[in-house]
C-alpha cells in the first residue's frame, strides 16, 4: 500500500473487492488482480490491528503497574 490509507479505508476497499469477486462478474484476469490487491489490503489491516493490540497491552501493563 503506497500512500498509507486509514485502516477503515483499507477495510472498506477489501470488503468491496470481496463483494465484486463473489458477484462473479469479473473477468478471470481481473479476478486474480483483485485477489492480489485484496491480500495486500488484508496484510495492511492486520498490521494495523497488530500494532493497536500491542499498544493496548503496553498501556494495560502500565496501568497495572501504576495501581496503588
Amino acid at each position: 500500500v503506497s500512500s498509507e490509507p486509514t485502516f477503515e479505508a483499507a477495510q472498506k476497499e477489501l470488503e468491496q473487492i470481496v463483494q465484486r469477486l463473489e458477484s462473479g462478474e469479473t473477468g478471470l484476469d481481473e479476478a486474480i488482480a483483485l485477489w492480489e490487491r485484496g491480500e495486500e489490503l488484508y496484510r495492511f489491516c492486520l498490521g494495523k490491528l497488530d500494532s493497536a493490540q500491542g499498544k493496548i497491552e503496553q498501556l494495560a501493563s502500565r496501568v497495572e503497574a501504576s495501581k496503588p
Binding site: 470481496v18 469477486l21 462473479g24 478471470l28 485477489w35 485484496g38
Partner: protein, 380 residues
C-alpha cells in the same frame, strides 16, 4: 384585709401605708389582662429580683410602668431592646412602699411578627422585582473547590457540621472560617463584613453561610437587605445553609444554592473524593475493556473478509470451469459425431458431402467418416 383608719372627730384618716395597702388590695381584685405597647427604659440587673421597663403607647405617648420577675423574663429569651413592641400579660399592681402604680407582668410576647412578615414580604417583592432571586443569576458551584469561605457563628454546631462534612468528603479543600455574629441587631452588618473579608482571600472559590435553626426573630438578620444584597453580589458562588428546611430567609433566595442543613451544604460544596476515585477506576477499566472489544470486533471482521477473499477466486474459476463443461457438453450434443457414433457415416467425394447416389460414379474414390475416424473407399 381590713384597712384601719384613725378617727379625728367625724373625719376618717388613713396612714399612707394603710392607704397604699388598701388600694393595692383593691387592685388585686382586677382581672389579668393583655396590654400592648412599646418597650422603653428597659432595666435589668443581676441583683434585682425583677426586670423593669416602661410600656409606651405609640399613639399618644401614654406610659405604664411594668415589672416582671427576672427569672421569668430571662426564660423567655426575647432579647428585647428599647423600641420593641410587646404584648404584656399581667395585672395592675401598686408598689405599696412607693405608691407606684404599675403592671405586674406574668408573660410577655413580642408583638409585630405580622409587621415583620409584612416588611419582609415587601422587601422580598422589591428584590425579586430587581431580579436578585432570578434563576439566571444563579451560578454553578465549582466542581473542584480549593478554597472555601465559611461564614458562621464562633462556636456554632453549624460550623462544626460544615467543617466535618468538607474534611470527610474532600480533604484537599482549604476552609477559611470567618466567625461572626449570627443573631441579634449586629448580625446583619457583621455577616456583610465577614463576606467582605472573605472576598479578599486569594483564590477563594465558593462561600458557605451557615447558621443553625432558630426562631423567626433569630433568623431575621439573614433577611436583612444589606446582607441579602451582599450575598447576591458576592464575587464567588454562595451556598446558604441558614435555619431549618421550613425557614426561608431571603438570603436563601439570593444565594446561588440553598442547602437544607450545614451538612447538606458540605455535600453540595465539595465532591466526595472516595467516590470520585471509584468512578475513575471504573471508567479506566471500562476504557481498557472497550478498546479490547473494539479491536476484537475489527479483527473478526477483517478475518471474515479475508476468508471470503481467499475463497472467491477459486470459486470463480470453479464456476467458469463448470460453465465451460456445460458448453462443451452442449457442443458435443450438437456435433454430428454423436450421430456417427450411433452407426451413421458421412460420405465425402472431393471433400464435398455426398448427398445423392447419382452424384458419384463407379470407380470414384470417396471418403467415409464414421464415429471414430475416416477411411477411403471406391464406388462400385
Amino acid at each position: 384585709v381590713k384597712v384601719e383608719a384613725s378617727l379625728y372627730g367625724d373625719r376618717k384618716v388613713f396612714s399612707v401605708s394603710a392607704f397604699n395597702r388598701g388600694i393595692a388590695t383593691w387592685l388585686q381584685r382586677l382581672p389579668t389582662v393583655w396590654v400592648e405597647g412599646e418597650v422603653t427604659e428597659l432595666k435589668r440587673h443581676q441583683r434585682w429580683q425583677s426586670v423593669f421597663f416602661t410600656l409606651k403607647d405609640p399613639a399618644d405617648g401614654a406610659c405604664l410602668g411594668v415589672s416582671m420577675p427576672r427569672g421569668q423574663f430571662d426564660g423567655l429569651r426575647l432579647g428585647l431592646a428599647d423600641g420593641d413592641h410587646v404584648h404584656a400579660y399581667g395585672r395592675p399592681e401598686l408598689y405599696a412602699a412607693r405608691g407606684e402604680f404599675r403592671l405586674r407582668a406574668l408573660s410577655l410576647e413580642r408583638f409585630g411578627l405580622g409587621d415583620h412578615l409584612a416588611a419582609l414580604e415587601r422587601l422580598k417583592r422589591k428584590l425579586a422585582a430587581e431580579g436578585l432571586f432570578s434563576a439566571e443569576r444563579k451560578r454553578a458551584l465549582p466542581v473542584w473547590p480549593r478554597t472555601i469561605g465559611l461564614v458562621t457563628g464562633n462556636d456554632a454546631a453549624a460550623k462544626r457540621d460544615v467543617l466535618a462534612g468538607i474534611q470527610t468528603r474532600f480533604p484537599p479543600a482549604h476552609v477559611v472560617v470567618a466567625e461572626t455574629y449570627v443573631q441579634g441587631p449586629r448580625a446583619a452588618g457583621a455577616v456583610v463584613e465577614a463576606l467582605r473579608r472573605l472576598s479578599e482571600v486569594p483564590g477563594l472559590d465558593v462561600v458557605v453561610v451557615a447558621r443553625g435553626g432558630g426562631s423567626f426573630e433569630d433568623l431575621l438578620p439573614f433577611s436583612d437587605e444589606r446582607l441579602v444584597r451582599a450575598i447576591a453580589s458576592c464575587a464567588v458562588p454562595v451556598v446558604s445553609a441558614v435555619g431549618h428546611e421550613q425557614d426561608t430567609p431571603l438570603c436563601d433566595l439570593a444565594a446561588d444554592v440553598r442547602a437544607s442543613t450545614p451538612t447538606a451544604a458540605a455535600r453540595l460544596v465539595v465532591p466526595d473524593l472516595r467516590e470520585l476515585h471509584e468512578r475513575l477506576d471504573r471508567a479506566r477499566s471500562g476504557l481498557e475493556r472497550g478498546a479490547r472489544r473494539s479491536l476484537e470486533s475489527k479483527v473478526g471482521r477483517l478475518e471474515q473478509a479475508h476468508e471470503r477473499l481467499r475463497r472467491a477466486p477459486a470459486l470463480l474459476v470453479e464456476r467458469r470451469r463448470a460453465g465451460l463443461e456445460h458448453a462443451a457438453g452442449r457442443l458435443r450434443t450438437l456435433s454430428p459425431r454423436a450421430t456417427l457414433n450411433r452407426g451413421y457415416a458421412i460420405v465425402r467425394a472431393d471433400e464435398a458431402i455426398v448427398r445423392s447416389a447419382t452424384s458419384v460414379e463407379s470407380g470414384e474414390r470417396i471418403e467415409v467418416e464414421v464415429g471414430d475416424g475416416r477411411f477411403g473407399a471406391r464406388v462400385e
